[in-house]
Symmetry: C2
Subunit: 338 residues, 2 copies
């Protein structure tokens, strides 16, 4: 049995999450039972939603248990199998968590899925052709429901969700505007991801200033907004929403550290007759096949070229995750485990 | 030609609206052109949306023009007609404004509608079987879409919208909880309007205290909320929303006087996967016939017994309106003009 290094949640953050909330632990992988599969992880996905689970608060997901391996999406290969549906060498995607190996009861529906790496690199199944890509798809297609010629805006534009959103939105004939932090990310958004414009929120000290920049980038107003951050950015975009605009609320990363961030002008929801809808993509499994098909096609044909930030080795996961929460990543944040 | 007393908007409010924003003016009604009808108003409707129109601000409706008669819904009778579709004595509902008579181009679609007063008193066409009733219907049926056994909450519970909402919600098998100001209104909500419980928000100094009262009144949480007021009440109800709850935003009366009221915990929209949607009932004319049919049936069968606050004479309209904004009315606020 190989030795398995894991990252546990050791204690909960008080305010900002810090490295000492996590603990590196070594264990032996247990012997397999019938139906189980041993997966060696190639990549671990780091995602903003994990910060929410570190709190012991009412939320959509159970809080991450203390003293247990942090949960998270993984891709890897089967190295041992007692399940007839999987054989050694299969490339698979699952929820293996922050560790080098996982033992998976592969008969549980959705626990482990074989993926084809002929045209799509394995790591992309954690990003553009995985949960983040489907997240962008659901928010855009099912909540925002864009029409040709409308203007779409997304915050955290160069992340895994933002990259996929740009390709999906452009494919629907929409003006597509990103909001990101810093000139490098904004240049990349326009040059590589296909955004029509990208606004550097770090150049703006308040919502009024950011709102002015949005007016220039969105001369016809904003019809759809995909919300990843909350706070000042949400306040600014709200002031630019057109009548009957739709806001898909996917994340409020700005408020994860404790102090709730109020929304300055909720009356705009009424005066502009907006629809604001929160969602969790894992609650809409019925749309995954359709979304993954479109996303896979966009990657295979080069219309979606997602960038990845890759940290090396399981011990690097906590720092990489804390960096992600501060926007230090550039594209999809992964940890390489081989 | 009869003399026609009118209330004009003389100047815009700075902060709170005051009586001196209005001006009483006398004029002669002009001679009728072909296709026109002269209507003598029996009742004028006073509604919270009118406060929004007094500001010169971006909103769903054009601002009320200065030096012009205040707009508003009216019921009355035809006293002169140069239109073959209307004859003297017809009872009609229209948008005659804050005045005793109006000249209506009755060929304009929707400008004037004949109504039957056999089973429904004329004034109710401005309330339960008019715009406020249809407003309750649209928010409940089209946005909240209640299911049997769910819990519905409405603020401003004893107003024209709230009364209709209670009857419509109970008819759909929902636990129905009101929020109103003062013990008399709360007792009336339960005894006369059919609410299962009613919370007196005046007993609560902050959202946390109101939230605790809501927990008692809504032991299974809140699935649908019809928002008329905003501010502290909205903050409190948000903390009690169940997963996949729906909020229909119809009014934010608490914020009309200038200072915008922030929303304290927008992240709940995400964590509870809420849908929050603003609407203006006049933009959904296609549902009016279905809604009016149900509302008329509820009134005719005594299941909806709306209460009215009636001020006498056009000169009394400004004070009655300012009282409405402060919640001094009890039931639908009208001005009797005959």
């Amino acid at each position: 049995m190989p030795t398995n290094q894991q990252i546990h949640l050791d204690n909960r953050p008080v305010g900002e999450a810090v490295a000492s909330n996590f603990k590196l632990v070594s264990s032996e992988t247990p012997a397999l039972q019938d139906g189980q599969v041993l997966v060696r992880h190639h990549y671990l996905s780091l995602d903003p939603y994990m910060r929410g689970r570190m709190n012991d608060a009412k939320s959509y997901a159970q809080p991450q248990a203390l003293g247990q391996t942090m949960g998270g999406g993984t891709v890897g290969e089967v190295v041992e199998s007692k399940n007839p549906k999987f054989e050694v060498g299969n490339t698979v995607v699952g929820m293996g968590g922050w560790q080098e190996y996982s033992v998976v009861d592969a008969n549980q529906p959705g626990a482990l899925r074989k993926v084809d790496t002929t045209h799509i690199p394995l790591s992309h199944y954690l990003g553009a052709v995985g949960m983040p890509g489907v997240t962008a798809w659901y928010g855009l297609v099912k909540i925002i429901a864009p029409q040709v010629g409308q203007t779409m805006v997304i915050s955290a534009a160069t992340g895994a969700v933002g990259s996929a959103f740009a390709a999906l939105s452009k494919a629907r004939g929409c003006r597509t505007v990103g909001i990101a932090g810093g000139p490098d990310k904004c240049k990349y958004a326009v040059d590589e991801l296909g955004f029509d414009a990208c606004i550097d929120y770090k150049l703006h000290k308040d919502a009024a200033s950011l709102s002015k920049a949005l007016k220039e980038a969105c001369p016809n107003g904003v019809d759809g907004y995909f919300e990843n951050v909350g706070g000042m950015v949400l306040d600014a975009v709200l002031t630019r929403m057109n009548a009957f605009g739709r806001i898909a609320v996917c994340g409020m990363i700005a408020g994860y550290d404790g102090l709730p961030l109020p929304l300055a002008y909720p009356a705009l929801i009424l005066t502009q007759r907006l629809k604001v809808e929160g969602f969790i993509v894992s609650e809409h499994m019925e749309i995954w096949p359709e979304a993954l098909k479109e996303l896979g096609g966009l990657v295979a044909t080069g219309k979606l070229k997602p960038r990845e930030s890759i940290a090396q080795g399981i011990a690097a996961a906590p720092e990489a995750f804390l960096g992600l929460l501060k926007g230090k990543n550039f594209g999809k944040q992964l940890v390489k485990l081989i």
